[in-house]
Symmetry: C2
Subunit: 415 residues, 2 copies
């Protein structure tokens, strides 16, 4: 059911999307390394997912590198890589003005979202995100419902297209650091489907659980069992469901559980001289100095080509480094905007993270062995649908930002 | 205690090893992705390992690629990569004679083992391996004890330096496909330490459990809890313990648990014409067509340079492929013997394995989601010691085949 009778496909960022015949719900499960689902199925705690995959489709795709939340959520809702939409991380370094620039503001978006385009074309669109910091980017230009679980009580008709969300969801606003924050997203999705039956809905969770718990452990399985119940309800209401992830998740420790950190600023200060290189960790949110803020991706700004070359060699020699690419090579390989990455892009391996200086990372908050993401090792993500897909060439490289294309253009319609 | 009074270091394959002051036990835990230990510690089921790491050392190192059992076990006991010792997998293709050649026979070994060298120099040496197929390689030239758990009842004084092993271990000979096979190795190690107090002992398990169970699951934790008890006994007897792995382990499925297989022979037959390429899977044991026989490493033999180039491009374009290297590049990067790999070396990603033709792989035996190894994604392995290590440069790239060097030359002696 569309609000307008038009059946024309909608074109956004060079891709065409069919209008949905049934409500389409795309779920981005933050940090969903595919094995979380495999193990939950094996443990027998996700009967709906098991049925969904038996009747639907299960594929593996690649997320965007850096395998961080913001670049990937924005890729999913724009259908294009960061080279096009511009959001390559949480921030970049503005060399001319000598300052670190946050990219959480929509002014840094270089492409419209397909959500906004569908809404403009008359579709009913709803977006629920766990953390509020993603809300303004996801909701940019959107005439529809858009709110965060974190600030669900602050959503207004004017600002979020909805009000009194906690009353609708019948849950209190959860803590920002909890599994409940993601549960609120799913619960809100079900209530919105019952109350508003949006044509297009995007639900985006937080990886609080995945950062702490390995696939197949009791806590991880409990999270997926929770999710399973809500997905079953959305399916029962006739929704076409597409599930993917912003990125995977790996342990980033030695066998004893101690974080394996390369303090890259320290290393470069030692190799090149104090302060000649500037290491930027795009996972960091500078407004809150996170305990940790450790991921497997960094970008490095350097004063000149010669220093860049010697830094590249020095970094490549460090145990735990997987790749050190020039700006050009990184922009090409990872489809990143060259003006928003440094002279070098550094990726660490699946058990290693990159920090700046030891003194700037407070690891005392890590109460369990560090698990994180950001690198190529967390690039594989699930693409799951509760419908068979048709007309999909087997050699096509699938991305998480194909999920709307697959759900709208390739999923078989409900019988 | 050495059988001879000599205190000279022993030189093997260009490396010097100090004679042990206390018994040194090196354990190779087959398929021990580091997270198995992290999760077992978190679950509180391995109190000795927790204590061992608190008092000793925990490092991460790289195994040999292909991350398979034989090349890595042989690297560990020779202290050198396959480029030197020659065992690059279970078999290679003899182009001149047009036949696939097994490398389980010691005649293919190009370097002596350090175990044999120590024994020749008068040390008491004991080796226990889970599967018998590794026994003849590990025991080559060794004047000491060497037997497999699989055929423990067949060990003789003439052949294995010991007899009546089941009576010594007080356990029946276990099934070759069981966790018990590895437990027998540890139990035998403890009994040998009590009865013979070898100067040098090498214990090598099988990855039956790791192929089936993810880190942190109940069955995996039970395996490590079993191991923990035996390690505690070896420690209590004064042994210096070094623990490493032949390779890691990854899920090789989509989120639904279906194996992700690239049938490379089929792909090349389609791209180049039937039978022009020959795909070799060095994980396979040709005497028993394993159910599965699927790993993340293959080598391809091609008729000429032009076909090689076009095959390289065709393979690189397949989703799930991580690297396609020429013989020269692969030999250089992975330190492999060029005459025992094909014209191309193919590595698949952490969720993907390589097969030949679908019809040649019987997957019906996979009762649980496939987990396997062979690629770069399974290269990280733990290096654990029950002693602090000294004089170890922080930038040194550590390998699993450094484990004897670290235990003999860098571990602090018992107080």
């Amino acid at each position: 059911m569309m609000s307008t009778p038009s059946t024309e496909a909608i074109e956004v960022n060079g891709r065409r999307y069919a209008r949905p015949a049934a409500p389409v719900v795309v779920v981005c499960v933050d940090g969903c390394e595919p094995d979380y689902i495999t193990q939950a199925i094996r443990a027998g705690v996700v009967p709906y997912l098991e049925r969904m995959l038996a009747q639907g489709s299960s594929l593996i795709g690649d997320c965007v590198v850096p395998s961080f939340t913001n670049p990937n959520n924005i890729s999913i809702v724009t259908g294009v890589p960061p080279a096009v939409h511009g959001i390559s991380g949480n921030f970049f370094y503005d060399v001319e003005n000598g300052r670190e620039v946050m990219m959480n503001d929509p002014s840094y978006l270089r492409a419209p979202t397909l959500l906004a385009a569908f809404a403009t074309a008359g579709a009913r669109v709803a977006v629920v995100t766990a953390k509020d910091k993603l809300r303004t980017l996801l909701g940019h230009g959107l005439k529809g419902i858009c709110f965060s679980a974190e600030k669900a009580d602050q959503a207004t008709l004017a600002d979020g297209g909805i009000e009194q969300v906690p009353a609708l969801v019948r849950k209190p606003v959860p803590s920002v650091y909890s599994a409940d924050l993601s549960e609120f997203v799913f619960a809100a999705g079900v209530k919105l489907m019952q109350a508003h039956r949006p044509d297009l809905m995007y639900l985006s969770t937080t990886d609080y659980v995945q950062h702490k718990c390995a696939p197949g452990t009791a806590e991880a399985n409990a999270f997926y069992a929770m999710m399973d119940g809500y997905l079953a309800q959305l399916d029962a209401m006739g929704a076409v469901i597409g599930l993917t992830a912003d990125h995977g998740m790996s342990p980033k420790t030695d066998a004893g559980g101690q974080p394996q950190v390369i303090y890259l600023q320290q290393q470069l200060d030692a190799a090149l001289g104090e302060g000649r290189a500037r290491v930027i960790l795009p996972i960091t949110d500078p407004y809150v100095v996170h305990h940790g803020a450790l991921g497997s991706f960094a970008t490095v700004y350097l004063p000149d080509a010669r220093t860049t070359a010697s830094a590249q060699a020095a970094i490549a020699a460090l145990p735990g480094i997987e790749a050190v690419l020039s700006r050009e090579d990184a922009a090409h390989r990872f489809e990143l905007p060259p003006d928003r990455i440094g002279d070098l892009v550094v990726v660490s391996d699946h058990l290693t993270v990159i920090g700046t200086r030891a003194a700037l990372h407070d690891l005392s908050g890590l109460t369990v062995p560090l698990r994180s993401h950001g690198g190529v090792s967390e690039q594989k993500i699930p693409l799951l649908f509760n419908r068979p897909l048709r007309a999909l060439p087997p050699t096509r490289r699938l991305r998480n930002f194909d999920v709307f294309d697959l759900a709208l253009n390739h999923a078989e319609p409900p019988r």
